[in-house]
Amino acid sequence: MIVPMEHLLILATLLFVLGLGCVLVRRNLIMILIGVEIMINSVGLVLVGASAFWQQVDGQIMVLILMAITAAEVAIGLALVVYLHQQKKSIDVGIFDEMRG
């Protein structure tokens, strides 16, 4: 036994919360996406930990699929950041307020 499950879960929670903080506080679009990455990472940790706990490999497979999805999402997300930069010459999230009203 490596470590009690709760310790693993606490570590994952802390990583998740750090990523969440990054998303909420930073105004740079890229930093927000990085925050999302951190959060996804922590979920991956939980999945692996769970698969180790139950001694089944399904959790790891889910992590693989998660990574693939993350790759796709990052690709499109960063393409969108490029597009927005083309539109407004800035990637400050406060500038993109067309959703107002």
Partner: protein
């Protein structure tokens, strides 16, 4: 024993690296720190008996996704002296998030505490790549197909969205 120690050590490294990453002014530095965190996590995965996932974490996550981030950062020439975030967020901005974080942690702790299984230890095991592969292509074959589709239309979408102005105008002239 060693594994337990390693786990805590690597956990501390991951947390520290992530913490440093989120307060960086320069996004490049943030990405580098994040890569460090990813490495630590990969080692934790190995400890938890997932060697293939650990390798894939380094190759795909650190090697592809973070590199993509760096590409885009370089392309957009986001520097600390640019208008964006001339000053890093200070105490005031972090305070509500801190409160939020504590709330979430508290919630999670409550949830964890409620579960009797949580105090059981994670056993040592090792999932060989062979077992991994079998399970992947037998039970989750459909999932593999679907995510390969997804990767292809993600590529198409990224290509389309990320076009330069000139290219977009050219295409519209044609249509």
């Amino acid at each position: 024993m060693i594994a337990t120690l390693m786990f805590y050590l690597l956990g501390a490294v991951a947390l520290g690296a992530t913490g440093m990453a989120i307060i960086q002014r320069n996004p490049v530095y943030a990405v580098i720190y994040l890569v460090k965190s990813i490495f630590a996590l990969a080692l934790i995965f190995y400890l938890l008996g997932a060697p293939l996932v650990a390798a894939l974490q380094v190759i795909v996550y650190a090697g592809a996704i973070m590199v993509l981030f760096l590409f885009v950062i370089m392309m957009l020439e986001v520097t600390p002296t640019s208008a964006v975030e001339a000053t890093a967020p200070g105490w005031v901005q972090w305070a509500p998030v801190l409160f939020l974080a504590l709330t979430l942690v508290a919630l999670t702790l409550i949830l964890i505490g409620l579960d009797p299984l949580a105090s059981e230890g994670v056993p040592r095991w090792h999932a060989s790549p062979r077992d991994f592969g079998y399970s992947l292509f037998k039970e989750y074959a459909l999932a593999v197909k679907i995510i390969s589709f997804q990767l292809s239309f993600a590529a198409v979408g990224a290509f389309h969205v990320g076009m330069t102005e000139r290219k977009r105008a050219q295409l519209e002239d044609v249509s």
